[in-house]
């Protein structure tokens, strides 16, 4: 079922174009990475503020509200680029365990948002009103850092995984034998 969807996605005109054009794929990948560099930092600074490690002379509300829409914009661009990168090679990504690890981390990011938006991000003024930063805010910051690091590492490892038949020594030796027989 999922594989059928991947196959269909990969064969759409857009994804075929991305895969077959020489420059489009690298440009999309560079944009994806540039977004990671710029908007990843926005996430980092928000998390560090929630933890009380940086920007402590600025209010939490200032940092959270000031960067919110930029993080959303960055997230949308990053995900759009990501879908195009994975979609154009969907059937190659399907067996890759790191691809599914990355999606799992992204699912956890979604759950993180569902839990902590009402508790932390939607009312930063309340966090500033208390003398010490509440545990829920620190937990939100720490978990966000961990989850996004997970997304990033799993994403990078996608490129290192090879399907089993490529590095299976038995298969390689069989190929050698075939060559020798000839």
């Amino acid at each position: 079922m999922i594989f059928d969807f991947f196959q269909w996605l990969q064969s759409t005109d857009l994804m075929t174009f991305i895969r077959e054009s020489g420059l489009t794929y690298p440009v999309i990948m560079s944009t994806h990475l540039t977004c990671i560099a710029i908007f990843g930092g926005l996430i980092v600074i928000t998390d560090l503020r929630l933890l009380g490690w940086a920007m402590t002379d600025r209010s939490i509300a200032d940092v959270v509200n000031g960067l919110r829409w930029w993080k959303r914009l960055g997230f949308v661009i990053m995900v759009t680029m990501g879908i195009m990168l994975a979609g154009s090679k969907a059937t190659e990504y399907y067996p890759n365990p790191y691809f599914w690890t990355k999606l799992s981390f992204l699912a956890l990011v979604l759950i993180h948002a569902l839990i902590f938006r009402p508790l932390v991000y939607n009312r930063p003024q309340e966090l500033d009103a208390t003398p010490a930063i509440p545990t829920r805010a620190k937990a939100a910051g720490a978990l966000s850092l961990i989850l996004w690091t997970g997304v990033l590492c799993a994403g990078r490892l996608i490129g290192y995984w090879e399907p089993p038949q490529k590095k299976n020594p038995v298969a390689a030796s069989q190929v050698r034998e075939l060559v020798l027989v000839r």
Partner: protein, 154 residues
Amino acid sequence: MLLIQANPISDALNSSEWVFPIAECLHIAAFAWSIGLIAVVDFRLLGVGVQHSSPSQLAKATAPWTLLGLAVVLLSGPVLFLSDPRMYLYNPSFRFKMLALVVAIIYNYTIHRKVAYSDSSGTAARALVGVVSLDQRRLRRPVYRVRLSSGRIQ
């Protein structure tokens, strides 16, 4: 030029299939960290983002964290490079990346720093410095293309 020869450092780095991926994850996480924090200041210079802080407050608050990220980038980078110095040295995009990196670091700690730290600078000057700083990131894009052609990515 010794580096171009097969050397024990490369051998050690290539002896485990996990050294390169782990170093690269660190490298990317650290550049997201450091470049992103500089971007926060850039956005402020352009008049968006954290509005209630002045550029100098933001720049001072992020400086130690930016430096930490940069340090990890500059430590993990050579590990990646030394795993296959020949491939990188002869790669024009790698040379371009190094040039862009040196320019970006010098720019960040001279002009960018001076303008960000002086809140009295005119809006135009601030905006210009912010745009140039953000734009340098685009210069670094071809680097990824390099690694793509060398087969590191997909």
